[in-house]
Homo-oligomer: 213 residues x 2
């Protein structure tokens, strides 16, 4: 049984655990302890066990976890075994960059539509067989293509207006690339994608790696 109100840092670590487990050579290491997993991720074992307690009961004391079983279990929890249909709204530079981004796991994510409101862009081909659609047609396309998630890549000035349009359809969440906070109904999740987080982490490692070398 998975607990409600899982802390956000635990959620972020869930994906670190999965990535780490995928890299384990199970022919050499069929099992892994929370201590070993913690060491590989520079965490402490208590933190790992605490995180796992949010996800349910598994693993035997003293034996460790079966790597493959643990990985599959965590992947299921993380929703990686499901395919999510994505639509990009806002086909400026950022929208195009996202469309061509190669880093999405093909099994989990599928871009099914791309929208804009600019008539110079609407109808234009992008990628194989893809055409930029009019945001006015969002609701009918969302129904037909079963859009789950909107990647919102419009300028800040248009972000709320576009959000108000897309939440009228049965979408489940918005990944917000604009730099303002957008308001949605309670049942539609929003996550802000702010790349300066990576930049700040880099700076930190520059500042403190230097003196630690």
């Amino acid at each position: 049984m998975i607990k409600c109100n899982i802390p956000k840092p635990t959620v972020k670590r869930l994906f670190l655990y999965i990535r780490c487990l995928r890299r384990v050579d199970v022919s050499i290491h069929p099992t892994i302890s929370s201590k070993e997993l913690a060491d590989r991720l520079s965490l402490n074992a208590n933190q790992v066990r605490k995180d796992f307690s949010y996800f349910g009961k598994f693993g035997k004391r003293g034996v460790g976890y079966r790597v493959t079983k643990l990985r599959k279990y965590l992947e299921k929890i993380a929703g990686i075994t499901t395919t999510w249909n994505l639509a990009i709204v806002g086909m400026g530079n950022l929208g195009k960059a996202i469309f061509h981004y190669k880093g999405l796991e093909k099994s989990s994510f599928k871009i099914v539509a791309a929208f804009d409101k600019d008539h110079r862009k609407i109808g234009k081909k992008i990628g194989k067989g893809f055409e930029i659609m009019d945001i006015k047609d969002f609701s009918s396309v969302a129904r037909k293509q079963k859009i789950d998630i909107v990647l919102l890549s419009v300028p800040a000035s248009a972000a709320q207006e576009v959000t108000d349009i897309v939440v009228k359809s049965k979408i489940k969440g918005i990944l917000n690339f604009s730099t303002i906070h957008v308001k949605t109904p309670e049942d539609i999740s929003v996550e802000d994608a702010d790349f300066s987080i990576f930049l700040r982490a880099l700076i930190f490692s520059i500042m403190y790696q230097e003196q630690c070398l």
Copy 2:
């Protein structure tokens, strides 16, 4: 005194602490306890105290922290009080999107140059007074403009080749937007900017918020 080998999750939380402290109305709450800070961020107070122990000794037992003093101290640790000169290398859709990104704190980050190897792009104006430069001129521009950080937004196929060029100059770090891992000399930090992290966090909140509402 700041400790070496600070765990990555602690570094990420450092920025959460700063963001949270910035939002505190100090006229109402001049001080904050680790418990209050933890509650605001869905962490536990022990975690907060443990994180802070990496950053040095501060705060009085039972009294809590002075919000403004704590914020300034953490900002200094995080390098936010310094200005970092950035160069974008790779002026495709992603490079352009980064160039026009409004979310960078103006006080901490300054884009000082943009490069490409495509002769159709070199010399083109981008933004006010900005011109895309030839990657061949990187080292002389890096010296003149004091480039600290390269935002690497080239395709995966060119990422290592371009990395090998830029690390010959005295840069400090690379924020890698390409989807492959790049190798650098030990004294040059690399951080991978992988936006699917945000997407996965969104999916998690979709899956578990639903049943928790």
